[in-house]
């Protein structure tokens, strides 16, 4: 058997054409959810079947692929998708944000600002921002069509009534190009401002829900809020224990069962490149110097 086991990037060409059409439509109508005929992929739903299909449709032999999961390059999800395309498309893979042309992501936007020509592909579990308040798909579609978005604010109202502030910390609803309200996938709201006026193209794929949507480059994306409770970015009030960054999004890592914990950058590539650069003293270095 010398015949290749797979077509380039796993999906057959007709499927890729179908997905590309959906992507083009999504780019033409920023924030609008385009239905597409999502395929079965060799991984379970929830592992990024939507993102993988979008990536497969846009990947070319010259592309360099990076896959991150919660900001990290080395978790199971990221490693297996990276290997999947390494095997089925033979493309070069990387962990460096600056080198990649296509970045598939789950739950984070890289800290390094994206450049023109790069494409960020998000894995989306539930694309409908109105879903938890309005269970009927027919009704939510009509609400999008007629721009009836009062319901999103009902959710934010509930947050303030219950917690005293807008307690939604991820999948924070945004309005794209002044028209469609969109779920930015479960990225932390810390990342929301990075969606707006980005130089890179941002694509969103939801495999189980069969929807693709997009934010073209240089598109205004506004996080929804109240006049007296404006949108606020949130991060742990600490700096990274490894690289000392006090502006990046941090993960809390529990180190023992006696309350010990440390905060580290969620974006591993960002953290590693800061540590590799010689001029950056780390917190530990500083402590050693002080001690």
């Amino acid at each position: 058997m010398n015949a290749p086991a797979y077509n380039f990037a796993y999906l057959d060409e007709q499927t890729k054409r179908m997905i590309r059409r959906a992507i083009l439509k999504a780019i033409a109508i920023p924030g609008y959810q385009v239905p597409f005929a999502s395929r079965e992929m060799p991984m379970p739903y929830g592992w990024g079947t939507g993102g993988v299909q979008v990536t497969a449709a846009i990947l070319g032999p010259a592309d360099v692929l990076k896959v991150i999961d919660q900001g990290s390059d080395d978790t199971t999800n990221a490693v297996s998708i990276r290997k999947f395309f390494g095997r089925t498309a033979g493309v070069r893979t990387t962990t460096h944000t600056t080198e990649a042309t296509v970045i598939q992501t789950r739950h984070r936007v890289p800290e390094t600002p994206l450049k023109a020509g790069q494409i960020l592909v998000y894995q989306v579990p539930i694309p409908e921002p109105l879903r938890f308040l309005e269970p009927r798909e027919t009704e939510t579609r009509r609400m999008h069509a007629l721009e009836e978005y009062g319901l999103v604010h009902v959710k934010l109202y509930e947050d303030i009534a219950r917690h005293g502030h807008i307690a939604t910390t991820y999948a924070y609803p945004v309005k794209v190009a002044g028209r469609y309200v969109m779920d930015p996938s479960p990225i932390p709201k810390f990342d929301n401002p990075k969606l707006s006026n980005s130089d890179a193209l941002q694509l969103f794929g939801a495999g189980r829900e069969k929807r693709i949507y997009a934010i073209p480059p240089h598109t205004a994306v506004v996080s929804l809020d109240f006049e007296d409770h404006p949108f606020e970015q949130w991060r742990h009030p600490a700096s990274c224990a490894l690289c000392g960054d006090d502006a990046s999004f941090l993960d809390e890592v529990i180190t023992d069962d006696r309350g010990g914990r440390m905060f580290v950058c969620s974006d591993t590539d960002h953290c590693e490149s800061r540590r590799a650069a010689p001029s950056q003293p780390t917190v530990q270095d500083a402590e050693v110097a002080r001690g």
């Binding site: 308040l133 009062g150 604010h153 109202y157 509930e158 303030i160 009534a161 006049e227 007296d228």
Partner: protein, 260 residues
Amino acid sequence: MTPVDTPLLIAEGLSKWYGRQLGCRDVSFELHEGEVLAIVGESGSGKSTLLRILAGLMEADAGCVRYRMRDGVTRDVAALSEAERRFLFRTDWGYVHQDPAAGLRMAVSAGANVGERLMAIGERHYGRIRGTALDWLTRVEIDTGRIDEPPTRYSGGMRQRLQIARNLVTGPRLVFMDEPTGGLDVSVQARLLDLLRGLVAELGLAAVVVTHDLAVARLLSQRILVMKGGAVIESGLTDQVLDDPREPYTQLLVSSILPP
């Protein structure tokens, strides 16, 4: 004619068939601002069909419903675009369902239920929304301390009052009510009717109330339509029709009320 003399709502020759089954036939009437019209009749007489057609929830097979918009222009409701109709429905109109669960969002707090219409028409100030919600809860006699509870924790009577507050918050001119006191016990009914009568008088609301309870019709409405088998068989001033019914069926209805 001055705007006050023009009717708020005009129904002309409304008919509806469900296949070969008649829903309602050739119903016409006019409703003026501040006027309450009761539609009474037995189950299956076409009351609810008529109400749903009037409120634009269902299309009539014949006839039309015209409404005088806030700008004073009377327009055919069926000819409005969907966006306009939905906007009308959540600003200038109210619809009180018999089952409060159908008219409320049971999963969100009472305050958000009242505030939803405000947010839908573009209010973006939390403090003001909450202030209005508190004000309306007071007006429908709900303890303001319970503003953050979902309606699932409310009693039937409270839910119905919350539904009324939710509808009235945008200052509608016309409210449709489908058996507003159905399913409530007698003392709660009396309290709700009292509240409704007060609000209708205070706000100068026009209302179309569908009910099978003649006591509700007598307490709330100035005019009445009696329906039987899909047609209006008698209409007129409420007191007149109920005290001196002309049609045999109306006489039967009135005489079937148990004497107090």
